[in-house]
């Protein structure tokens, strides 16, 4: 009998979901349509959270106050992604970044683009920690996070 070790069975799984955004996050996306980035302010610790939450995870109190934050902020950290993986939504290479929008107290995760991304060495001359970036809006609003098309470095 032929030696046939380590047999492998291949398979793939697809499972559909319908996930509720809820009131607070729906409103966030409605505001994005108006090209406004809105956070929520905690009545207790006064932090402004973006994305907004209906409650403060630390104080465990409801947050009812909407606050518009700046469309500009500082790059707290970033990563140049040039590694493909299954179900990746953005085309590589792309830059994932944590941005502290002026007037907010949390890092906002989005992408930095609007520059030539093909060569990393050139990119790092432009994108820097502590550097400023500003939101660039998609013309067509679909009610998702890419209604902000990307953040571009401020010259």
């Amino acid at each position: 009998m032929a030696k046939e070790e380590h047999r492998i069975v291949k398979g793939q799984v697809m499972v559909p979901y319908e996930v509720a955004l809820g009131k607070t996050w729906s409103m966030f996306y409605d505001f994005l349509k108006e090209e406004k980035i809105m956070g929520k302010k905690c009545p207790q610790c006064s932090r402004v959270l973006v994305p907004p939450r209906s409650f403060c995870p630390r104080c465990f109190e409801d947050m009812d106050e909407w606050v518009e934050v700046s469309q500009e902020g500082i790059v707290e950290t970033w990563v140049y992604v040039n590694m493909p993986f299954f179900a990746q939504e953005l085309k590589i290479p792309f830059i994932s970044a944590q941005i502290r929008l002026d007037g907010s107290d949390t890092g906002f995760i989005h992408q930095v683009a609007g520059i030539d991304l093909t060569e990393f060495e050139k990119v790092r001359e432009i994108v820097k920690l502590g550097g400023r970036v500003k939101a660039v809006w998609s013309r067509e609003k679909k009610g998702n996070i890419l209604d902000i098309a990307y953040f571009e470095p401020v010259k």
Partner: protein, 378 residues
């Protein structure tokens, strides 16, 4: 020996929620803390009960759970089934290291695929899944054996659905609220023959929280703490074909719990039971295994009226899982409902008799592969 009590209970409305899972969870946790007069910071430890990816579309469910359950920078953990979470929370108190533990189970069935595709992933990729096995398929096979071996009738099984959906009409937190007759159940679609549609649990949204406390703390937190007096759990073989589907591990789990609680005549000593019956006939089979009636006597037992709301041993006054099935949370729902009965806080579905000892049961897996039994006492 340290003791542990349930001091407070909170649960979401059984209706489908339009809130995000995070907000949905927060509301219930906020409510229970307010009821207990505690701040989030004052809770000793927090344990979540939830299932990952297939039940939420999120991997590592604890990651998303964490904010809503109020666990930021707190000692905590997560168990995959909510009866597990409950007993793990109890262990934390019994160790003497924590005075309070908040246990929260959560899921939004409305966002998820149906139970059948989800439970098909319990199956291994080589044998069971390729031949279409899921929890309902095994339940139907189990039911057929149950009918044939003991001569229990389909009508007797259907009566469980009539009883439980009837009870659910008095439970403001129930999901499926619909008065059904025996004829309705019998005439409902034979989805997995002999199982009929109204004999199978729905999928529901649900968040339920219980606050646990040490003996000393419980007495200051609540006028009527409910004590854990027994616990038992037992796991069966994986392949349904390796077992007798009508024997199973529930008797072993129950015996452990009874021994710990000092119960030798469960049918007499237990005042009310919340039993996990995702399929109607299973309530009868489980009641046999819990020792409420003899082997093969489940049909006669329901005919006798014993498990009705005003019977000698009411089973599922809340409407059970047939009415509300937030899958990974349903074990903690049973425990919470059992506690409410002892506290006399079950409202319209409070049973007529005085409840001093209540049993809560949880099961998951093909044909009840794993069972947990919890005994609570006044």
């Amino acid at each position: 020996m340290q003791r542990v009590a349930i001091t407070h209970v909170a649960q979401s409305s059984g209706m489908e929620s339009k809130e995000s899972l995070m907000d949905f969870t927060y509301r219930v946790n906020k409510e229970i803390l307010d009821k207990a007069g505690l701040k989030r910071r004052e809770v000793g430890c927090i344990v979540a009960g939830s299932a990952d990816i297939f039940h939420s579309g999120l991997s590592c469910a604890n990651a998303f759970d964490w904010d809503g359950i109020g666990a930021f920078l707190k000692e905590g953990s997560r168990a995959e089934e909510s009866a597990f979470s409950f007993i793990y929370g109890c262990m934390r108190i019994l160790s003497g290291r924590y005075e309070t533990v908040l246990v929260t189970a959560l899921v939004k069935g409305s966002e998820n695929p149906d139970n059948d595709p989800i439970t098909s992933f319990y199956g291994d990729p080589f044998y069971l899944r390729p031949v279409g096995v899921n929890e309902s398929v095994v339940a139907a096979m189990q039911m057929r054996q149950y009918l044939e071996r003991y001569g229990v009738t389909e009508e007797q099984c259907a009566k469980v659905a009539v009883k439980n959906l009837g009870n659910a009409l008095f439970n403001p937190y129930a999901d499926r609220k619909r008065r059904v007759s025996l004829e309705d159940v019998m005439a409902s679609e034979r989805v997995y023959d002999p199982l009929k549609a109204l004999e199978c649990a729905p999928k529901s949204d649900g968040v339920v929280a219980v606050l646990l406390a040490s003996e000393e703390r419980a007495k200051t937190l609540s006028k009527k703490p409910v004590w854990l007096s027994g616990y038992g759990c037992s796991m069966d073989h994986f392949h349904p074909g390796d077992r007798d589907l009508l024997k199973g591990q529930l008797p072993a789990a129950a015996q452990r719990a009874y021994k710990m609680a000092g119960i030798d005549d469960p049918g007499k000593q237990i005042d009310v039971a919340e039993v996990c019956e995702p399929y109607a006939f299973q309530e009868l089979l489980w009641c046999e295994h819990l020792g409420f009636c003899g082997e093969g006597q489940g049909g006669r037992w329901i005919d006798s009226g014993m498990p009705l709301m005003d019977g000698a041993l009411p089973v599922n006054p809340s409407g059970g899982v047939l009415a509300t099935n937030p899958y990974p949370a349903r074990g903690l729902y049973r425990i919470a409902e059992a506690a409410l009965q002892i506290k006399e806080e079950a409202g319209e579905h409070q049973v007529g008799k005085k409840v001093r000892t209540a049993l809560a049961h949880s099961t998951h897996g093909f044909g009840g592969q794993c069972h947990s039994v919890v005994i609570l006492s006044a």
